[in-house]
């Protein structure tokens, strides 16, 4: 397996507070990598450095390198907009655009980037909704507002919206933390399916979830990467004492 995202000496700051310290990690192509760790350990900050969303926070800074398919996304000639089209993101709480219909929510990334061919957009909307297993539930009401759906459906709509711009990598920031167990199961199934075609990075608080969906797992603590390896190894034979303490539930 090829390395898709190679991070070297990554530091991230909020003003003077360092949120990430010297992160070095290589994430494999078309695999699901879980990021686990207690609250405030920098998991979300880490994935937000991969689509250059972190720098939008006032006074936020990043140093170090993030290579995407071999080229550094933080080099000065790179347009963050191009990076964000390659790296999709699904957020903690479902956040469909309330002013837009289901159809337009999925089409937003295309329409607002200047694609106008209606047939082409129609195709992509249908494909994306089918991929996110929402098509059958919404195909007769594509013109209703996206917020009229249930929480789980909204989250799958957000996944469809991310898929529509044809990313290579999809970041999930605790995608199930606001959902009920049945919706959670559906999303997990979906992630399992998506990793055949996409590189998945998923932040989760739920260790069973990490164990179920991911191939590799990284354990973060206080802004540092403590351990990274095969999910199976991390959960059955962790090398680091702190990892062991966390996964056995002694803190966090």
């Amino acid at each position: 397996m090829k390395d898709e995202v190679v991070v070297s000496d990554l530091n991230a700051y909020f003003g003077n507070v360092r949120a990430l310290t010297n992160i070095n990690i290589a994430i494999k192509e078309k695999m699901a990598t879980a990021i686990i760790g207690p609250s405030g350990c920098g998991k979300s900050t880490f994935i937000r450095c991969i689509n250059r969303l972190h720098e939008l926070v006032t006074n936020a800074k990043v140093s170090g390198k993030v290579l995407l398919g071999g080229s550094d996304i933080y080099s000065s000639e790179v347009d963050p907009i191009q990076i964000r089209r390659k790296v999709g993101m699904v957020f903690q709480r479902p956040n469909p655009f309330p002013a837009l219909s289901i159809y337009d929510n999925v089409a937003a990334g295309l329409k607002l980037n200047g694609i106008k061919t209606k047939d082409h957009i129609d195709d992509i909307v249908e494909q994306s909704l089918k991929m996110s297993t929402l098509w059958d539930e919404v195909k007769d009401k594509l013109n209703v507002s996206g917020v009229s759906l249930s929480g789980g459906q909204q989250q799958r709509l957000c996944i469809a919206r991310a898929l529509a711009v044809k990313p290579e990598i999809i970041l999930f920031d605790e995608p199930c933390s606001a959902l009920d167990p049945i919706s959670t199961a559906k999303i997990e199934e979906l992630i399992f399916k998506l990793k055949q075609n996409y590189t998945i990075i998923i932040v989760t608080h739920n260790m069973q979830q990490a164990a179920r969906v991911s191939d590799d797992t990284a354990f973060f603590l206080m802004g540092e990467l403590i351990e990274f390896g095969k999910t199976q190894d991390i959960f059955t034979a962790p090398k680091d004492k702190k990892t062991e303490a966390y996964i056995t539930g002694r803190f966090g």
């Binding site: 689509n51 969303l53 939008l56 006032t58 907009i81 191009q82 990076i83 964000r84 089209r85 999709g88 993101m89 957020f91 709480r93 956040n95 655009f97 309330p98 002013a99 837009l100 937003a108 990334g109 607002l112 980037n113 957000c158 919206r161 991310a162 711009v165």
Partner: protein
């Protein structure tokens, strides 16, 4: 037990006082409404809407030119005040968390408190003096200056209510900051922004002072925008201070039309606000 009783009595008293105060504020509003309606409705007829004012001494006639003039003035004011107000609101909410934003906010709030007649003098020196003529344009400028603070601050408030996660979601799709602001954030806040515009329109619809030496008034159909133009509040003012009974009657009719206009605008804005995000 006694303290409980005492507390209950105080509670009842305070509650009654609060109710009384709330009721008192309704008294002037309802009496104005009642008086204008009773006086106005008897004076209003079809002629009022379709005829020009008649010369002094001749009975009948209407205020068709003033009604049209008011609409033209409101339209012209919106034409420049709405874009300026909304874009200013976008600046304050999206890029205004700094010293510049705070300064702009302060100045806009001060502008909101400037008496409208002062704004009229300002428009007079800026437009009427150089153009050597009273004009619709100078009137629309004065009214627009009055509208901007309301539109700007309500737009800002409404845009701020759009959750940050929506901005992030749009940016994460590779949508540019500009399209995110216009097509996602502003679109989400649109019902509230429209309410702000309608409130500003309701406010200027009845403004008289700034029009006295800008739009000036006109007894005929206006010729073009560089010329004086009639407006409902001006016509009411002119007729109300005249010594003729028939003109007083028409002033009441004008007041009635004006109050119904403002009432309808407020009603529409309420309706627009209800289907907010």
């Amino acid at each position: 037990m006694t303290t409980y009783k005492k507390r209950k009595i105080i509670d009842k008293t305070m509650c009654s006082i609060a109710f009384l105060c709330a009721f008192l504020t309704l008294v002037p509003l309802i009496s104005i409404f009642g008086y204008v309606i009773s006086k106005g409705i008897t004076s209003i007829n079809l002629d009022f809407f379709i005829h020009l004012p008649r010369p002094v001494g001749e009975p009948g006639g209407g205020m068709s030119n003033a009604i049209a003039g008011s609409f033209i003035l409101i339209g012209l004011s919106c034409l420049w005040a709405v874009p300026v107000g909304i874009l200013g609101g976008v600046f304050l909410s999206e890029f205004g968390n700094n010293k510049i934003g705070a300064t702009v906010r302060f100045i806009v709030d001060v502008l909101n408190g400037v008496p409208s007649i002062v704004i009229g003098i300002f428009a007079y020196t800026l437009f009427v003096l150089p153009m050597k003529s009273f004009s619709a344009i100078s009137g629309a400028f004065a009214l627009g200056v009055i509208m901007i603070p309301t539109i700007m601050r309500t737009s800002e408030e409404m845009l701020r209510m759009v959750p940050g996660t929506l901005r992030e979601a749009a940016l994460a799709l590779g949508i540019s900051q500009f399209r995110t602001t216009i097509s996602i954030v502003l679109k989400t806040a649109l019902p509230g922004v429209v309410t702000g515009i309608l409130l500003a329109v309701a406010r200027i619809a009845g403004e008289t002072a700034p029009l006295l030496f800008t739009a000036f008034g006109n007894r005929f159909w206006h010729q073009n925008l560089n010329q004086p133009i009639a407006a409902l509040p001006l016509q009411i003012f002119a007729y109300a201070i005249s010594p003729f009974d028939d003109w007083h009657r028409q002033a009441w009719a004008g007041a009635f039309v004006l109050i119904v206009m403002v009432f309808l605008i407020s009603l529409i804005s309420r309706f627009a606000l209800r289907r907010k995000i």
